[in-house]
Amino acid sequence: MTQTAPHAPPSDPRQALAFRHVSKHFLRGDGSSLEVLRDVGFDVPAGSVVSILGPSGSGKSTLLNMAAGLLLPDDGRVLVLGHETSGTVDWSRLGYMFQDDRLLPWRTAVDNVGLALETGSMGKRERRERAQAQLAVVGLGEFGSSYPHQLSGGMRSRVALARSLVTEPDILLMDEPFSRLDAQTRTTMHTELLRIHRERGMSIVFVTHDVEEAVILADRIVMFSPRPGRVHTELSVDLAHPRLGTPEALTLVAELRAAIAGMSADWVI
């Protein structure tokens, strides 16, 4: 199964996403301006897992919304597969997973997954088949006809993951997607995500405030400082998977935590 939608070749095929001198302000209710991002620049190489690590209020979600084309930067450029988000981008090549599962309560699991395919003109039967196949990939093949309220938090999270994957995106944007799960379920989801990444090779931008989660998942960590969000440190993580509990990973987590402690007092870890 390959993406059939035609698209122009990106100008730089090695970068899935690129942020260049991106700044963003928001207008507050009282009319004053809030600086959310200041001169942010980094790349997401094609096929890599990049974790954006930062405390709340460092503009991480804003950055993802810019990558998804829901927001435009005040200054600078955001490039998706080499195309500027202010221009024409084939948005079907992006998947988005939210902090909450955001499943429609009136749809069964398989119809929730199929929702992501309803943008185009794909027939109902094919949508259903693909959604069902994707549910099987996340281990929920038996639960297609269940309604969200009948599923556990971990299962709902899997359905949401399947919905963001069913379009077979080249880039997956994830906004703290597992932060509401218990530790054990989260670890399972990390393993699942890494497995699917190995199989599909898409680029993943994973926003989190959890240092350990970033270390476990990412090929590259972009650490943000608090408001206004700026790139504080960028580092590669060249450790073999699985990393959970390995001495190297634990050392890196400790180092990053020390760096954060020197940077921000209100970053709870």
Binding site: L70, F98, L104, P105, T119, Y147
Partner: protein, 264 residues
């Protein structure tokens, strides 16, 4: 594993409920019958006499003709109320300025008695089917608008954002996010409106129609045919119960089977 233990309990529960309901019905009929022994038939006819009257009304075709005449008028008024109320409610819900401007109209419309609408209708339409239809419309409309409006306020902004990330068009977002979110509100409003509509249609028919259950009720009361008044009353209650339990309740269970609290 839970099903086998639950199922017998459930049937036992519904069996005992049916038993209690039947006991209540028997008790009421018995009290009615006892009271009728001490009253002349034109004040309180006996249950047997009313049943006989119901049978003759049914045999002559009179019963069903008038029941369906009234039902048709209720449905017509209700349909117009839905056709205006649903887009109206969505419009008022999606435009804050418009909503704030028209907000006072709804409670005012709700306070106007159906008898007043009936009198206006007679002035405007005379003795015609339009009179009960108009009264049903004016009663049902504010209920439907209010509920649909409330429904638009209850649409989860997160779902709309989800639709945005999926690049849904406005129409697609309306159909796939807004409509399913509003549907429960619309349905409860529509049920309320239908019940009210049925009751006010009788008022309208007693005042300004030459057929229908309401007209026949007034005619029977004018001629002091008390057994007929009772027969029509029972017939219209039975009709409402059949529509409610045979159509609306199962429809609601089916439409909202995704809800946690609805047991199928």
């Amino acid at each position: 594993m839970r099903a086998p233990t639950e199922a017998p309990k459930k049937t036992a529960g519904s069996a005992s409920l049916a038993l209690r309901r039947s006991a209540l019905l028997v008790l009421l009929i018995a009290a009615w019958w006892a009271a009728s022994l001490f009253s002349p038939p034109y004040v309180l006819p006996s249950p047997v006499r009313v049943m006989q009257r119901l049978v003759t009304l049914a045999e002559s075709g009179d019963l069903f003709y008038n029941l369906f005449t009234t039902l048709w008028r209720v449905l017509a008024g209700f349909a117009v109320a839905v056709a205006i109320g649903v887009p109206g409610g969505i419009l008022l819900g999606s435009n804050r300025t418009l909503g704030a401007f028209f907000e006072p109209v709804l409670p005012v419309m709700n306070t106007v008695s159906s008898a007043i609408w009936a009198i206006f209708a007679i002035i405007w339409f005379g003795l015609s089917p339009l009179t009960p239809i108009f009264v049903v419309l004016m009663t049902a409309l504010p209920l439907i608008i209010t509920n649909v409006w409330q429904g638009t306020q209850a649409v989860n902004a997160d779902f709309v954002e989800l639709a945005q990330t999926l690049r849904f068009s406005r129409l697609k977002t309306l159909v796939k996010i807004y409509v399913p979110s509003i549907l429960p509100y619309f349905f409860s409003g529509a049920r309320l409106a239908f019940g009210f509509g049925w009751r006010v249609s009788l008022v309208a028919e007693t005042l300004g129609a030459s057929s229908g259950v309401g007209y026949r009720l007034r005619q029977a009361s004018d001629l002091i045919q008390t057994d007929q008044v009772f027969a029509w009353t029972i017939a219209q209650i039975a009709m409402m119960v059949v529509i409610e339990m045979g159509l609306l309740a199962p429809l609601e269970r089916h439409l909202f089977r995704w809800r946690r609290d609805v047991r199928t």
